[in-house]
Amino acid sequence: MTKTTTSATQTATTPWEPKIVGILCYWCTYAGADLAGSSRLKQAPNVRVVRVPCSGRIDPLFVLRAFARGADAVLVSGCHPGDCHYSKGNYYCRRRLSVFKRLLEFIGIPKERFRVHWISAAEGQQFAQVVNTMTEEVRRLGPFRWQEAAGAAAQQGIAGR
């Protein structure tokens, strides 16, 4: 059986829901998320969680790959400055992601699509709040599709892609 499409894509048969990748540090935000869950707080189900040992582990490539694989937005969250389980991981994260966030805004990605928070293990309420707010904002913005951003330019090439 031969399929004649130019690439493998998923076809949407259900209405679009924001897909948010949440990269959370284990010691603070991940625990906070867990608290939100066990407290039965009402949260939008749109955040897919990736657990890292520390926000300092976060490579900007994680965020870019999430956007490459179809994420509509990315949330990064770690311990408050001064409370890092590894003392200073989140300080490095803060520097690195400050520049990275500015870069994404510079190239025109709406700032609502990439957010960095500090949420502690006790802040289950805050986690749920952030998840709900971010989901609504991204729902308003709509899906993030790279090809659409270029508009008609996508069809100009010799190979017709």
């Binding site: 059986m1 031969t2 399929k3 004649t4 130019t6 493998a8 017709g160």
Partner: protein, 356 residues
């Protein structure tokens, strides 16, 4: 069909009618440089006729930078393989220079050899090539060294030759002849003086290019050139000419006859896609084997491999050169490594070898 004349101002309407039922692809210019693409607007403003050859070659019409080969589903359970055939609209490529025409023929030769490559065949069969021969050379052109015919470019269906205020239009194949019928209304009669003007222009171009350092029409000459590429005594030459090489691969990616590709799998969960994408013998990991052995560990060996492919290995395999003298590798090399220097050196070495 008799040769005809097309007034220059009628070029665009002629092309649009000629491409009835097909996607019209022409040389265009944008911020990135010159390449082949669809005209972005009706007035045809970005059509480019003032460059001899485009920065990007028309290779992608038959061999895109990447394409899916097949889909894999239900991995882990009972994997299903679904081949993906290229979805190709019939196309008409206008403005292909003789060098690139030959390149497309060489690509077909390689892709059809042994086991025919269906991805290439489907694309090539869907297309018609309208060549535009050159009456001017650029400083980096050396097609005449490679014996590229300017009067009847290989593999083209229709040929346009720019004369003073008109194009001489000739059908080179039956398919070209048929296609011309749709645009015949734009054409006028041509006569002998136009044919002579064409010959004169092409002669002038041949005279304007630097003299070839070897004779591409002489088989013996080709073989003796091929033989001097690999021997140990030429190693110091290769090391010197490639000393500056940074291994970026732009020479191979811009080359209209380079075809190396990598095959990768990429997927999520139970679904994956196998695709192929351009690769380059200039990359460090290109020839690196799983054992850790690298047959070409030094950059100069990789440069020698590239140039050797064009002048030597293809002569051994197909009896012809696969360099078409388009000059893109020369123009685009960030450190100005110039294949013409290599050709001159090798030609000298070859003639010395013949007369010890």
């Amino acid at each position: 069909m008799q040769p005809a004349l097309l007034p220059k101002e009628r070029l665009l309407p002629f092309l649009r009618d000629l491409a009835t039922g097909r996607r019209l692809i022409v040389p265009v210019r944008d911020e990135r440089g010159t390449r082949f693409g669809a005209l972005p607007d009706e007035a045809g403003a970005a059509l480019v006729l003032d460059v001899v050859n485009t920065d990007e070659s028309p290779k992608e019409a038959v061999f895109p930078q990447w394409e899916p080969l097949f889909d894999l589903r239900d991995l882990g359970v009972a994997p299903e393989v679904e081949p993906v055939a290229p979805e190709v609209q019939p196309w008409l490529l206008f403005g292909v220079r003789p060098c690139d025409c030959r390149a497309l023929v060489l690509l077909a030769q390689l892709f059809e050899a042994d086991t025919p490559d269906p991805y290439h065949s489907i694309r090539r069969r869907a297309g018609i090539i309208v060549a535009l021969t050159c009456v001017q050379s650029s400083p980096t052109c050396f097609c005449t060294w490679m014996g590229v015919p300017l009067d009847r470019p290989e593999g083209a269906d229709i040929l346009l030759t720019p004369l003073d205020d008109a194009y001489l239009v000739e059908a080179l194949t039956e398919q070209g002849q048929k296609q011309l019928a749709a645009a015949a209304g734009h054409l006028q009669e041509a006569d002998d003086k136009h044919l002579q003007a064409k010959q004169a222009a092409l002669e002038a171009l041949r005279a304007a290019q630097p003299a070839p350092p070897f004779d591409a029409s002489d088989e013996a000459s080709l073989h003796s050139l091929a033989e001097v590429v690999m021997p140990e005594e030429q190693e110091p030459f290769w090391q010197a000419i490639a000393r500056a090489c940074i291994g970026c691969g732009v020479c191979t990616l811009g080359c209209p006859t380079c075809t190396c590709f990598d095959v990768n799998d990429d997927g999520i969960g139970e679904h994956a896609e196998r695709y192929r994408c351009w690769d380059s013998c200039q990359f460090k990991f290109y020839a690196l084997e799983a054992s850790g052995h690298d047959p070409r560990p030094e950059q100069w060996e990789r440069q020698r491999n590239r140039i050797g492919h064009k002048l030597s290995f293809s002569v051994d395999r197909f009896g012809q050169l696969t360099c078409v003298g388009c000059g893109r590798c020369v123009r685009q090399c960030p450190v100005n490594i110039d294949i013409r220097e290599a050709i001159r050196h090798l030609a000298t070495a070859a003639s010395r070898a013949k007369t010890p």
